[in-house]
Amino acid sequence: MSDPVRVVVTGLGCISALGHNVGELWWALESGTSGIAPISRVPHDQVHITIAAEVKHYDEARHFDAREVLAYDRYTQFALLAANEAITDAGIDFWRNETLACETAVIVGSGVGGWDTIDRTFYSLHKSGKSRVAPLTIPRLMASAATSQISVKFGLKGPAFSVSSACASSNHAIGEAYWMIRTGRARAAVVGGSEAEISVASQLAWESLRVLASDTCRPFSLGRKGMVIGEGAGMLVLERFDDASKRGARIYCEIAGYGLSADAGDMVRPDVGGAARAIRQALETSRLSPEDIDYVNAHGTGTTLNDMTEVQAIKMVFGPAAWRVMVSSTKSMHGHALGAASAIEAVATIKAIEQRVVPPTANYLGPDPDCDLDHVPNVARQMRIGAALSNSLAFGGLNAVVAFKAV
């Protein structure tokens, strides 16, 4: 039997509350700087929670011409910018390589797709009294808009679809792309996730679920009050190890495995068993043991329940090795970007492996007895990371965990 295909990451792109590219993201993560701030896109007198992790200083006209702006929802814009950065970083011109372009997959995760377009359309009809709707409304708002636009923009003609599993969307996307390459259904992939749903309606909806913090996001910490909504996109370029080596590409790391599960329980209450099964499967498929894992980029939303459940799940799978693994949540800095969260966190985890630095859990006040692992409080740590996990435990009980390994 021939060796299984090894899948590696050769390009990274990201736009988030921490900046418009990977360099800015990494600078903030390494220095423990949070991008959480007063919301600018929502009038403060219409909501109660007035903080978010928004993409700042963003001017769509700087990146797209007037015709493109008409065609791209904010979430698609973020996806395109991150994809462009990742593809440029990988150094592949798909337009000049038709064979590869036909074998390159595009998979984008998103919780809701073009929310901003939906929101503005309803507002103009029901509130402003308009009686017409722009012709590109449907192509802008559909949950696969970003996937289509990335394929069009970069000439990618392989398997392309979107994935939606709430806050695990991007990990499901990355995991599926990994499987497609591993099983020969694609040769390369542009994969990640995007979300942009900060609006009055979404903010009030999240408030109503009573999971938002009014001060900041402090996962695993004493005094944590909940999550802070973020937005943005993260993108990876995946290739076969052999292809990347042959063309002399810079290889960030290998995707070693992928685990997924469903709680089949409560819509909002996470389940230890479901989370543990996804983590265990990620280890099994990657043939890694808990002792091999140096870092876990946690789902770590900052809600009382999520963080406690996630710690229990890690202990259940890791056993004694749980006491030596570092478990931080970068959501403390880039917020909870929902369907884009695990794509941004994948970029964070891959940079951590490359830079040999573990990003901290920012805004940490002190240990909570329910969250007693090494949560890397407030200050990044220099450390070689041989292998890492990135956890996503979504609302609706859909879990996905991706394992990364240094090459």
Partner: protein, 86 residues
Amino acid sequence: MTDEELRRKIFDIVALQVRRDTASLTAETTLEELRIASLDMVQILFGIEDTFDIYVPQEGQHLRGGTLGEVCERVKALVAAKHASA
């Protein structure tokens, strides 16, 4: 609104979410013994906010513990506070 009307409305909201007959609830019934799931609790909080047009603070453990009688008293206070500030 009389205290009795307020009480009846709150009991109806709770009864709906815990799938019980309103008549089986009393002022001495505790939230704990009703074993309210987290998603049911946020629906109860929303029902109360929507019915009385008040805001129950996000993080305050405001309506989360005690008896239904105590919940009614706290809602009454929030309603009074709203009228006072209007």
